[in-house]
């Protein structure tokens, strides 16, 4: 029986020969993750039910990346709860302070996720690890508590949709533009309950950083997971993390069943901007009227990796951020920050008049460090532009790649690097 990558990984973890879409299966989990917003709920659920058990402390990951360093007393209490939980159960993978990065940047970097893994996380962007050829999906806090306790979870096997990318990319067109274009095409529920498999020659050409960006936003099309076949680039990425674990590489069988196959010719795609208030409102940056902005954010689990900072720096070098605009740079992890420092990117940002924030989720979800006021407009490399996402209910978020965000920061309105 032919299977897709997603089906193969689920089958292995369910200890079954094969699975098919619609099957409800119990699977072993390689890693179960939560952050400082979602972990406190998981921990309190366990406490409420008097459960004093964690199946395997090595497979629990706790990342305090949303509201840290603590923005208020309540946030501090939440991180304290996580720290005490980690100490009690001997959980080695607890991250805060100078060790913290954005969970979905940090975990692949540390080699905690490798090809063939099955990972669940109490964060919707857990689907990011699909870029490594792993099955990974977001769940709620109670589901993650259950996975910590039993080492397993239940899954409904999703039907797979295949997205084949071909053609030659135009200048300033990145993985971010491909995924925004795709979501624009199928809509924010276009892949609801499905696996999105990204393939084709253009995907092979993408760097790992761009692949993470694409898999990260699968949830914005409603998907359960986004996935790509691991290749030489993936293996090189995994090898340099120093992990001792052995990757398991799966490919979709040629005769696997697809719910839908979409061929996407990339040659005519221009840098994309998703207008408020849904990621599906994507269009070419060149088609927009003059839209003035007050804030520009570069970072997040979508675009906070070193290549993203390099893209931004290539535009900002020797230029100044518009006096009306706050440009905020959020490196995704301590490693990204250090690399940016070594390459002189931080100097470029500072000379341009940008703010460099510590590695964290920052203002992406309107929590901390860069929240928008009423009527303010922000262009951002983040993943969501819902109503009130980054602050006031009457603020606006536009999504774009780091080139477009950097050039808009300079111009003061949304524009592409070749127009400034």
């Amino acid at each position: 029986m032919a299977m897709t990558i997603t089906e193969k990984i689920i089958a292995v973890h369910a200890e079954k020969e094969r699975v098919q879409p619609g099957d409800l299966v119990e699977v072993k989990v390689d890693l179960a993750l939560a952050n400082d917003i979602t972990a406190p709920l998981s921990i309190r659920e366990m406490q409420k039910h008097g459960i004093e058990q964690v199946a395997d402390p090595q497979k629990v990951v706790l990342v305090a990346d949303h509201n840290t360093p603590a923005k208020d007393i309540a946030s501090a209490q939440n991180v304290k709860l996580m720290r005490e939980f980690a100490e009690k159960f001997g959980i080695p993978h607890f991250f805060e302070g100078g060790r913290v990065g954005i969970e979905h940047v940090l975990l692949p970097e540390l080699g905690l996720v490798i090809p063939g893994d099955l990972v669940v996380g109490a964060d919707s962007h857990t689907c990011t690890y699909g870029a490594l050829g792993a099955f990974s999906t977001g769940m709620g806090s109670t589901d993650i508590a259950a996975a910590w306790i039993t080492g397993t979870t239940w899954l409904k096997v999703p039907p797979s949709m295949k997205f084949v990318y071909r053609g030659e990319r135009k200048p300033f067109v990145t993985g971010k533009d491909l995924i925004l274009f795709t979501i624009g095409k199928i809509g924010v529920d276009g892949a609801r309950y499905c696996a999105m498999e990204f393939c084709g020659p253009v995907i092979s050409e993408l760097s790992m950083d761009e692949r993470f960006t694409m898999a990260n936003m699968a949830i914005e099309a409603g998907a359960k997971n986004g996935i790509m076949e691991a290749d030489q680039k993936t293996l090189e990425y995994v090898a340099q993390t120093g992990t001792k674990r052995k990757p398991r590489i799966y490919s979709s069988d040629p005769d696997a069943e697809w719910k839908e196959v979409l061929e996407i010719e990339v040659s005519s795609i221009e840098p994309q901007v998703a207008l408020p208030h849904l990621p599906e409102n994507a269009r070419s940056v060149y088609s927009l009227p003059r839209i003035e902005i007050h804030q520009a954010v570069i970072g997040s689990c979508t675009n906070g990796r070193i290549e993203d900072l390099r893209m931004a720096a290539s535009v900002l070098k020797g230029k100044k951020v518009h006096p009306r605009v706050r440009a905020l740079i959020f490196p995704g992890s301590p490693k990204v920050l250090l690399q940016a420092e070594k390459e002189g990117l931080l100097e470029i940002f500072l000379e341009a008049g940008a703010v460099i924030a510590p590695p964290s989720c920052g203002p992406c979800l309107g929590g901390h460090l860069g929240v928008l006021a009423e009527g303010e407009r922000c262009i951002s490399t983040t993943n969501r532009n819902f109503v009130g996402r980054m602050g006031h209910v009457k603020s606006e978020v536009y999504l774009a790649n780091p080139y477009v965000v950097a050039s808009s920061a300079i111009a003061g309105y949304i524009t592409a690097p070749d127009k400034i």
Binding site: M46, H49, I149, G366
Partner: protein, 164 residues
């Protein structure tokens, strides 16, 4: 199980950021969360919601974040059940896990209006619009999910499993 209530109705793609904005996510207390439920979508929700409310919404209800605070805040508000044309995947699972009844029917928004009285009969697998008399048939939950509901949520189910 039967649930009866008066409808408050919303449109498509109601996301978790408007159900419970991130600025309130430093707490896990449902009693605090309910004070801000739907605040960015409908500031009147808090005054209108009663222990007899059934929410009706369009497609992709609960899209976005995995924050369980979203269904928790809805449940704590007194909402008896949610009927939608379709639900986002993570929200659906979260609602089941915390014991918030949730029903999917593609014609929900077409056949049910704001203020209608509605009854959901889970045994018969029906949504009855008591105002218009229209009956919608719903598929039963898979046995695995019925088990979780019968146990009163995922943690009770897991507790039994661990003990067993």
């Amino acid at each position: 199980m039967k649930i009866k209530g008066k409808v408050i109705k919303y449109g498509d793609n109601v996301d978790t950021d408007v159900i419970i904005p991130a600025r309130y996510l430093t707490t896990t207390d449902p009693q605090v969360l309910k004070e801000h439920c739907m605040e960015d979508l409908d500031p009147t929700f808090r005054e209108r919601v009663t222990p007899q409310t059934i929410l009706v919404a369009g497609k992709n209800f609960g899209c976005g974040s995995s924050r369980e605070h979203a269904p928790l805040s809805i449940k704590a508000s007194g909402v008896q059940a949610i009927i939608a044309d379709s639900f986002a995947r993570i929200f659906y699972r979260n609602a089941i896990n915390i014991g918030l009844p949730i029903v999917e029917h593609p014609d929900a928004t077409q056949e049910i209006n704001e203020g209608d009285d509605v009854e959901i009969d889970f045994e018969k697998g029906e949504i009855v619009n008591l105002t218009t008399g229209k009956v919608l048939t719903i598929a039963p939950f898979p046995p695995f999910i019925q088990n979780i509901i019968r146990e009163g949520g995922l943690m009770n189910y897991v507790k039994k499993k661990v003990a067993g």
